[in-house]
Symmetry: C2
Subunit: 261 residues, 2 copies
Amino acid sequence: MEDQRNTLSVVKIGGGVIEDPEALKYFCKAFSQISGPKILVHGGGKSATALAEKLEVPTKMIEGRRCTPKETLEVITMTYAGSANKTIVSQLQADHCNALGLSGADGNSISAVKRNPKPIDYGFVGDQLKVNTSLIEMLLSHGICPVFCAITHDGNGQLLNTNADTIASEIAIAMTDKYRTHLWYCFEKTGVLVSETPLKVLPKLSASEMKILKDQEIIHSGMIPKLTNGFHALEKGVHKVGVGNEDMLANKGPFTLLKKN
Amino acid sequence: MEDQRNTLSVVKIGGGVIEDPEALKYFCKAFSQISGPKILVHGGGKSATALAEKLEVPTKMIEGRRCTPKETLEVITMTYAGSANKTIVSQLQADHCNALGLSGADGNSISAVKRNPKPIDYGFVGDQLKVNTSLIEMLLSHGICPVFCAITHDGNGQLLNTNADTIASEIAIAMTDKYRTHLWYCFEKTGVLVSETPLKVLPKLSASEMKILKDQEIIHSGMIPKLTNGFHALEKGVHKVGVGNEDMLANKGPFTLLKKN
């Protein structure tokens, strides 16, 4: 039987793109030209770190992972939901994309559970996401493009810092009931690189291949959550998952397509 | 002929309420209990000033009016659209009010024109508001309560700082086509006071009475834009305009009702 579902594109944009005004303009133009319903997810990256430094809010790390005490959550709310989200939304509007910015609290679009403070207290961090698919569907059906920042809420008045890669994959998974869903992790590079010079991008990657490259430390740091969330999405029914820069959105450049084992 | 329109409540909340967590909780509870469709409009008040001070962004005033250069717009975007808007939205969600935060850029809900830099350059300030009533109506019809911060956009990628009292009155006016609209200016006091001790609140006030009290300097500063916008709304078909604290929303306390001359 033919798949009658419309294609929905869920794009996650990296911090590096957001902070460079020219890169952001270029990205917004490429994103606006995606045909059909689409959703954008972004973090705020370095702008939050820069604001925290200016406000002398210390960055607390435990075992290499960032914590979100109250003061850090405030900084994140200002930068992710404030400056980053509104800059992107107004730019997309200029590109004739009817964008509408959301945190998880807005319309109860994404609720989450505060991470257990035991054994390690990471502060106001949200896991176990619940996506309000009927709200998203309603917005999409009116030609609106939801733009999510990396903040959720617990339903009891508490905002929660939440990984943007996870938000993107959970939205893509939740929307598979109604749409044939494509998930694109968009950042500065053209995909998963096995060599920088000469530039060598993997056109395809499976979870077991990833494991080998991770053990060899060819895949590391920020690429790991993207790929982990990407493979999870693929397992859960997302049709296509890609990693690369904005040129992949128009199928104009190389990128890495995740494949099942 | 009987008025068949539903009543829509448009409430503007002052900066003093937003900054006091206990006052905000009390307000959100009162606001949530308004029956029927409702819209909230807020500024950010002192939190923007406090952040600007911490970041050493100078406050530029011309003839007693605040200017909005680029750096100030960034601070306003972080506080109004970021921390203030999301704190209010998450609190309203906890109070079972399905709030959804918006700047004017979101869904192109309110566009504006940048104020002419001649003779005085006020920076990125928006006037001549255009309210997207079909978006607002669509959200209301799905049981969503729009929560507007005091930021609009020009449609070309530029955010604009915009007076929250004006946003509230322009929304109330624009929605009169479809709704019997009530506009409530909610702040710390119980209405327009003619005396502080003993406390004497005017139960009713007309525009010509306001003029006399303004000349006598009994009405001054922040009260003037509220009343000016309020009388303008009354002229333009808004059914009821009130000024007072959150108890007026439940008809529990004294407040000032504006009346036509």
